[in-house]
């Protein structure tokens, strides 16, 4: 592979290189880094405050919802007469298993379509 360059152009590029060692630029960069850091901290603080407020406001209804979900999720999809078989198939024969399966299918579909 040839990587030959015109020496005259090379010399011109070298000579055109300016010494840009000024303190102001470095200060500007650090100022924008600080600004970004402050912004990130503000966003996180606002998020934590909002999360705490939500927790205080919705703790009771959320607890009720969780309770309802935990009582509903283990329900069998297909009723099986034999108790031991029902126990054995409980991890796959339940609302929770159907939801998990649906989630996995959706994720696979999404990855196939968009990645």
């Amino acid at each position: 592979m040839s990587n030959e360059r015109d020496p005259k152009l090379m010399a011109l590029f070298s000579q055109a290189e300016a010494d840009l060692d000024d303190v102001e630029f470095a200060h500007d960069v650090m100022r924008s880094i600080d600004g970004e850091r402050r912004k990130t901290m503000f966003i996180w603080s606002a998020f934590i405050v909002a999360a705490c407020a939500c927790l205080a406001l919705f703790a009771a209804p959320a607890l009720t919802a969780v309770k309802m979900a935990t009582s509903f999720l283990p329900n069998s999809l297909v009723s099986i007469e034999a108790d031991w078989l029902q126990q054995l198939l409980a991890p796959v024969n339940s609302v929770a298993a159907a939801i998990a399966l649906g989630f996995l299918v959706l994720r696979k579909l999404y990855r196939r379509l968009f990645r």
Partner: protein, 187 residues
């Protein structure tokens, strides 16, 4: 932990990178001070606009600060920063002027002996090249990268890079023919 500016100024680059990875702001400021001339000159050659070049260089250093923890080898800071700079330039190009046409600058026969004038003329001549040609020329002549390195950095096919550099070199030789004598004196 705070270190004195003198100590940081004497520290080797990998040490500064290591400190920056732990979130040390002063160490990163020292890295910016050391690398700003290189990145700003590279951006100036790419964009031909000093103000835009400084804005983009600032973006490069901001991105570097955000992702410096992902840099696994502190000794590879310079190539990592260069890759970031080229990506920032390519992103800017994609966002702002996808339909930019080349040859929009008027040719001029005047030459400058001073460095600033020479840089202006070089940027003007570079401005007559199409964006991709210009990028290949800057990486080859300013950064002294091989065709293979340019290929891995930009993702352009090798044949395209070679023809871009050949074409760009011819055009620059024509545009900057008045400088041939000055360059000869310098070499």
């Amino acid at each position: 932990m705070r270190y004195s500016p003198d100590l940081l100024a004497k520290s080797p680059e990998p040490v500064l990178v290591g400190l920056s990875r732990t979130g040390n702001r002063d160490a990163f400021a020292e890295l910016v001070r050391r690398r700003q001339t290189w990145i700003r000159n590279l951006m100036r050659r790419c964009s031909g606009d000093a103000v835009l070049a400084d804005d983009l260089s600032q973006q490069v250093f901001l991105q570097a600060w955000r992702s410096i923890r992902q840099l696994s080898d502190a000794a590879r800071f310079a190539p990592w920063l260069k890759r970031m700079a080229i990506n920032v330039w390519l992103q800017h190009k994609r966002r702002n002027d996808p339909l930019r046409v080349a040859d929009e600058h008027e040719a001029s026969d005047s030459t400058h002996r001073d460095q600033a004038g020479m840089a202006m003329d070089l940027d003007r001549a570079l401005g007559t090249l199409a964006d991709d040609v210009r990028l290949c020329i800057v990486l080859s002549y300013h950064e002294r990268m091989t065709h293979g390195e340019i290929e891995s950095l930009t993702g352009m096919p090798l044949g395209t890079i070679k023809s871009h550099i050949r074409r760009g070199t011819k055009k620059l030789q024509k545009e900057l023919s008045a400088y041939a004598v000055i360059a000869e004196e310098a070499t």
